[in-house]
Amino acid sequence: MLHFLQQLGSSTRTSFAKLGRATFFLGHTLTGVVDVAIRPRLLLNQLHSVGVLTFLIITISGLFVGMVLGLQGYNILSDFGSEEALGIMVAASLVRELGPVVTALLFAGRAGSALTAEIGLMKATEQLSGMEMMAVDPVNRIVSPRFFAGFLSMPLLAALFSMVGILGGHMVGVGLLGVDDGSYWSQMQVNLDFYDDIVNGVIKSMVFGFAVTWIALFEGYDAVPTAEGVSRATTRTVVNSAFAILGLDFILTAMMFGDI
């Protein structure tokens, strides 16, 4: 019993210490906005590796998710004779939930783990130390551009995901199953609100982008600089990101759509 309490105490202490380090790290990262403003090329390079390289997986997944939604939605809605509501069903699920959440999960798996591994390896190979000794702040120079690139990429990726998904739903619903093209779009337009749905979806994806990139970069920066340490950090990135995304999603949904 005493042993258990001891363990509980020490793990609480270490997790709070980690949270503290992560917060300082975030603050330090945010000061890098100056570096990014002076050297936009840094951001551009990172937009390439964070955004462009995630583009393909996002669009392909979005297409399939949209197609599946089209099929499933049609099956359920046709039981009630309201197939024309397929458009709003596909669009609302994508714009409000699946777009931001699935994109963030894919982003954590594709870009987040890569960021952790990259930063962790740079630490392990003394590149970060080396930079510090060359009087260059490695957090501002290396971490910040990646952070802002992730933060900016996420809303764009989520929007792409939703758009491709809606088109995928259209392909299946209208193209294959014969839902009326006009009602597919008009139901969507009447029922989806620009502010409530689209803007909130974008806000969600920004929050997820912030959380995932923060977690990924911090895990890399905080990793034990060995092969094993980096691999563990990469795993932690994916797991913690998934938890963060889903937890935040509940909170945000409750704030935006629920009446809590």
């Binding site: 390896l121 740079m122 190979t125 003394e126 590149q127 130390s129 080396g130 930079m131 510090e132 000794m133 060359m134 009087a135 260059v136 702040d137």
Partner: protein, 313 residues
């Protein structure tokens, strides 16, 4: 070591420095001076915190006690900006080279120039080529770091370290893991750069022969203390048994071949109840146990112990 005032010809003065990691004291109240324009070597076995000393000098770590004064500036009292300005005048060669892996050799050497100067690209090009020529790698400028051998990577890192014409260079284990030829070229480079550029060099190493060949002054560190100091000749003639063991690489001496443990025979006999302290090694004990159960004779233990030690090494 006396606590006399900083002598005029010393670039770095370390005074009463203490530093520990966890419960282990890495430096225990040491003081030393690094002479300007000379090559000073800090030697000692692995794990004595030689790299830590370099990081302390570079201001990456903070001491618990004591001060380090570099060129009249107390490193740990400086504000961030002042520290960064000091670092621009210090080149550091990391053990692994620490080249940025996503850019090529040319851009690596140009990196500090682009960061800290406002030179035009053509001037940077001239400087980069000069530095690369100095380390003999002008032809390798378009290679990526992962295409370089360990020795080449270290030479590129050296070119980068001298890019800003620093007043001193810190070498972290420059000779480790080098083949004889690249070792020779690095020894030669350190020596020639020191004389031609008028640098102050600090070499942290445990390669006795190479370091003794070029160092002007040597500090030998052991257990957080300075075990010996002097010119290579003085060190070689040191009366300290420890220094003798280290310099000559004797397997046994003041530093015992065996990691401290309980009596060997006793340990084997009580193997059915392994002491908690070495619980991690249970598997070995199991083998011993099973051997005993089968009534087999133990393998000649000394030999086994030795070969295992070698494998782990």
């Amino acid at each position: 070591m006396d606590n006399s005032d900083i002598s005029a010809d010393s670039l770095i003065s370390v005074r009463n420095l203490s530093f520990s990691r966890g419960n282990r004291k890495i430096f225990d109240n040491i003081s030393l001076d690094i002479a300007r324009g000379k090559i000073t070597a800090i030697m000692g076995p692995s794990g004595t915190g030689k790299t830590t000393l370099l990081k302390l000098i570079g201001g990456q770590l903070f001491p618990e006690q004591g001060s380090i004064v570099v060129d009249g500036l107390d490193v740990h009292q400086l504000r961030r900006k002042e520290l960064f300005n000091l670092r621009k005048r210090i080149g550091m060669l990391f053990q692994s080279g620490a080249l940025l892996t996503d850019i090529n050799v040319y851009d690596n050497v140009a990196f500090p120039l682009r960061e800290h100067t406002h030179l035009t690209e053509s001037m940077i090009r001239t400087l980069v080529l000069m530095k690369l020529q100095a380390v003999g790698l002008r032809g390798a400028r378009n290679l990526m770091p992962n295409e370089l051998s360990g020795g080449m990577a270290r030479r590129v890192a050296l070119a980068r370290a001298i890019a800003l014409d620093p007043m001193m260079i810190l070498y972290d284990e420059p000779f480790t893991g080098q083949d004889p030829i690249s070792m020779g070229s690095i020894v030669h480079l350190i020596k020639s750069l020191n004389t031609t550029l008028g640098l102050t060099s600090i070499i942290v190493s445990h390669d006795v022969a190479e370091t003794s060949a070029i160092a002007d002054y040597i500090y030998v560190i052991s257990d957080g203390k300075i075990a010996g100091q002097g010119t290579p000749k003085e060190i070689a003639a040191s009366e300290s048994a420890w220094v003798q063991q280290f310099m000559n690489g004797n397997p046994d001496g003041p530093v015992h071949f065996h990691y401290s443990a309980t009596d060997y025979i006793e340990d084997l006999l009580v193997s059915s109840h392994p002491p908690a302290r070495i619980a991690g090694k249970q598997e070995t004990f199991k083998t011993d146990e099973s051997l005993k159960a089968k009534g087999l004779k133990k393998t000649p233990s000394r030999k086994r112990g030795r070969s295992r030690y070698r494998r782990e090494d």
